[in-house]
Each structure stands twice: as C-alpha cells, then as structure tokens.
Amino acid sequence: MIHLNGVTKIYKNNESPAVDNLDLHITRGETCILVGPSGCGKTTTMKMINRLVTPTQGTILINGQDNREMNPVEMRQNIGYVIQEIGLFPHMTIADNVATVPREKKWPEKKIQTRVDELLHLVGLDPAEYRNRKPASLSGGQRQRVGVARALAADPDILLMDEPFGAVDPITRTHLQNQFLRLQEELKKTVVFVTHDIDEAIKMGDTIAVMREGHLIQLDSPDQILSEPKDDFVSALIGGNRAIKRLNLVKTREVIDNMPIQTLRTNSPVDTARKLLITSQLPAMPVVDENNRLIGVVQKHILSALKEQAEIADIMEKNGCVVDKGATLGDALSTMLNYGERYVIIVDENYSPCGIISFTYLLELMKNDVA
C-alpha cells in the first residue's frame, strides 16, 4: 500500500538528516505506528507521505504510484489527515468542519449532509446536538472525535494520524483509543499513526516502527517489540514493567468470552447474592435494571460484613469500576488502580455487563507471562 524506498530528508540549515535512508513498507489495512522520542523524524516521515514535506532523496509509492507524480491536492483529498485537536477550523461549525473534504471534492450538498450525520454517529456524537456547534464549545475529547470524523469524510483508504490523542487527559485518551480500535476493526483503513507514547503504540499498532535520529531501529509487531527489543534503545523506550505493558496486548473481551456472568436485580434476595458470590469466587457482582443495563455493583466484603437484613438497593454502590469490552487488560488494571478496587466490570455497547475481571486474575496472568 505505502512503500518508502531509501527516503531521506535534510531540512535547510541542518547538517544531519531528519530522516536518513528510510525503508518502510506498510501493507493494506494495517495500523503502523511510528514511535520514538521527539526529533526522531517520525512526523517528518508521515508528512512526506502526503507531501507536506518533500523528500530530499528516495521515493514514496502509494498503491504502486510515485507520490511526486500525483497532483498533491487530489492525493491529499484521498488521504485522511488527523492532527492534534487544534487543527479544527475554529470559525466553522462541526458539520462544516467534517464537510471540508467532500466540499473540496464538490459532492452534491445533500450527499454531504447525509455523510456528516453518518460520520458524527460513527464517532459517537449526536448530530442533532453537535452539528451546529463551534469547536470551542466542545471538550478536548469531543474535538478529537470530530477530527477523526473529518479525516474519514471522503472515505479515504489511508489515514495519517499525528499524535491524534496527545492533547487530552489520560482517561479520555483511553476512551478515544478504544473507540478508534473498534472503528478500525470495521473500517480496515491503512493507518500511519505517529506517537511518542510507547504504551499507545503497543495498544494501537499492528506493527510498530521504532525510530531514532532519522533511522528505523526496529520494525515488528507489538508482541515482538516487547519480547525481543532489538537493542538497548528499544528496551529503554519500552521501559520497565514489561509484564504490565503486555496486558495492553490483550482485549478484555478476549478473556471474558467463556466466562459466565451472573447479575443481580435491585429486588434480588440478599441471601441469593451471598450464595452466588461465594460460589463464583468473584469479589463483586453487577446489579442491572429491567433492560439489563448496569446500574451498580455489590461487593463481597460489604455483603459478608452485613449483619442485619438489607435490600440489594441499599448496599449497592452506584459508581462501580467499569470498562468497555474493547478496552485492554492494561486499561482494566489502571481503572482498578484509579478506583482502588479489586474488580472491574466489563460492559458491552449497551452498557450491559458481560464479564468481570478480578485483580487476582490479572496477577496470575502476569505471573504466568513472566515465567
């Protein structure tokens, strides 16, 4: 899909090249992460693909065609581009922002409007509410989603993403990452993703290209990078806690697949709850409403400390520790640590509980992994 052959970029007034003789091959439908410290040439590499930066030497082929032979404006219209949130046009409404590329391509206005609604739905923003708002009235996370929607507007095959989730808080970032992973499963775009955050790289990438000072140090799958870092630089980048980082390679839904899940209702008898909790050996149980949506959690230690009779509704905690089933085990672990709990409930897209992961389970997993 994208071939970089011996690509070198030397900026004016600079002796050492920003990117030095880089060979990189990105196959169709994969997410390739360019990762490395600042100044390693990752952003330059990405910008050379859509010709925002012209290589000093070497060729870049997109679908077998040299990108210097293409009309740059047309080529860029067929490559989605996401940068940090600031890239939204502040004077335009959300709908106009998303409609940018279709308008440049002169789509009929009706088709554009339908597409805008479709995309806002896709990234989880209600068109009725957000269409006519300006970027300034949105939160960082919402703006970032608009950025993704805008890049997808003309349905490009390739997406270039430059630190797309860099400017938001960690919790929002995790959320956006999971949402993007879910989207990408459906869309199967060819993604080039630049980040300085190795954890993000491990989580998001099919392949990871570790760069330093314009050179490609290692190009491998996240698993390979973690288990066989090529040199000291890569090991240092990965840092310690490799066992914890490997948790980011596994999605929660992969481990809860064959786990039976039992739920309580607010009117369930406390005795039943007690029995269920003891037999299941789980630290907590989800409580659901009539639509099977999660409304709270009953914890084992509270239940066993209970002397007199009580209703489930009385001992239920409303804000349980919850992650989406698209999240990784790493997300699950950090959620547990954030809440200071020993369990996390996994929910599906309808907010129905579909599994529960305990701290003990994660510890076992890490122990086996290291062993």
Partner: protein, 214 residues
C-alpha cells in the same frame, strides 16, 4: 466680532437656515468616504494577501503606505490636482491612499497570526491555496481586517473635509467658506457634522463587526 450675540446670526439659526445645504454636503461627504473606503478595501486586502504570500515584499509595501500617511493631506490633494483635475476623482484617489495602511497592515497581520497548524491541517486535507485563503485565512483574519477598516473609515471622514479644496465637495465646504468669510458658525457646522459622521460610521461598523464575529 459679535457673531455669537447678534440675533438671527446664532448657531442654531445658521443650521436651520442652511439645513438643505448641510444635508446635501453631508451626503456628498458620505459618498466620498464610502467610495474611497470600498476601493481601499479591495486594493488593501489584495495587497495584504499578496504580501502574506511574498513575505519579502511586506516591509517595502508597508513602508510606502506609512510614508503616504506622513504627507500632510492638504499637500497630497494639491499634488494630485494637476494629475487628476478638479473634482470628485482627485478627492477619492487621495482618500484611498490614506486608507491603505490600516487595511493592508491588518490584513497582513491578521493572516500572519493564524495558528500555522490550522493552515497545515487545511493543506494536509487537500484544500487548494484558493480555498485555504477564502475559507480559512480570510474568515479567521476577518476581525482584525475589520478593525483596520474601522480605523481607516474614521480617519478618512476627517481627511475628507479637506477634499473640498480640490472641488470634491463634502462638509469641508462649510469649513473653508467659514474661514475665508470669518463665519464661525459655518466652521462649527462643518466640524460638528464631520464628527457626527465619524461617530455614526464607527458605530455602524462596530455593529457589522459584532455580527460577523466568530
């Protein structure tokens, strides 16, 4: 020197007696200003856009505009008289030159101050240069350009009073006639109505500016 005291020669009397003339000259004055400013907007914004693309030209063009501002208006009107003749045309051309600096400078600065990452996002998404200018740069620079236009208008309402020396009409007629005939009331009428016009123009533009706010 008993102008103020004499009955029938009071200021109010003068205004009522000359109301038709005042209205006519005020309209002439407005016409001068509006035509000059409209031309200056087209020329000034074009120049501002030009120097935003060719940065090397910016100091030279801004310098020339600044020099023009330092020439006394009476002298500039006089200089153009032999070139363009007596009348409206010479008045407008001179006023356009005075308007240029604020419009050119604010267009240039307004465009230069846009966050470069916004422009890069636009370019990276495949907008061509014309689209980037009309859909991104000019709308984002608009509040600053508008401020420049307001400065130009208020300034030129004052300078247009001098345009009557080249026969371009306007409220300057009252002022110059008043000076030559020792008629303080005429001078006052000219000065007060010029100020009123300036205030009205400024307020109207302020409204327009708020309407077009991002």
């Amino acid at each position: 020197m008993c102008i103020y005291g004499v009955a029938g020669n009071s200021f109010v009397g003068y205004v009522t007696a000359n109301s038709g003339k005042i209205l006519q000259l005020s309209l002439e004055h407005c016409l001068l200003v509006v035509v000059a400013v409209l031309i200056a907007i087209v020329v000034g914004i074009s120049l501002g856009i030009l120097i935003s693309y060719y940065d090397v030209l910016a100091p030279a063009i801004l310098y020339v505009c600044q020099i023009i501002m330092t020439i006394p208006s009476l002298a500039l009107f006089g200089l153009f008289l032999p070139l363009f003749g007596i009348g409206f045309k010479t008045g407008v051309i001179t006023l356009v030159l005075y308007c240029l600096l604020p419009v050119v400078r604010n267009t240039y600065v307004g465009i230069a101050e846009i966050d470069p990452s916004i422009i890069e996002a636009a370019r990276g998404m495949g907008m061509n240069e014309a689209s980037i200018m009309t859909k991104i740069k000019l709308p984002l620079a608009w509040p600053i350009i508008m401020a420049g236009i307001r400065t130009a208008v208020v300034m030129v309402v004052g300078i247009a009073a001098i345009a009557s020396v080249v026969g371009a009409g306007g409220l300057g007629v009252f002022i110059f006639r008043g000076i030559s005939q020792w008629n303080i009331n005429a001078v006052l009428v000219g000065a007060i109505f010029v100020s009123l016009l300036a205030i009205v123009f400024d307020q109207v533009l302020k409204l327009v500016e708020n309407r077009s706010q991002v």
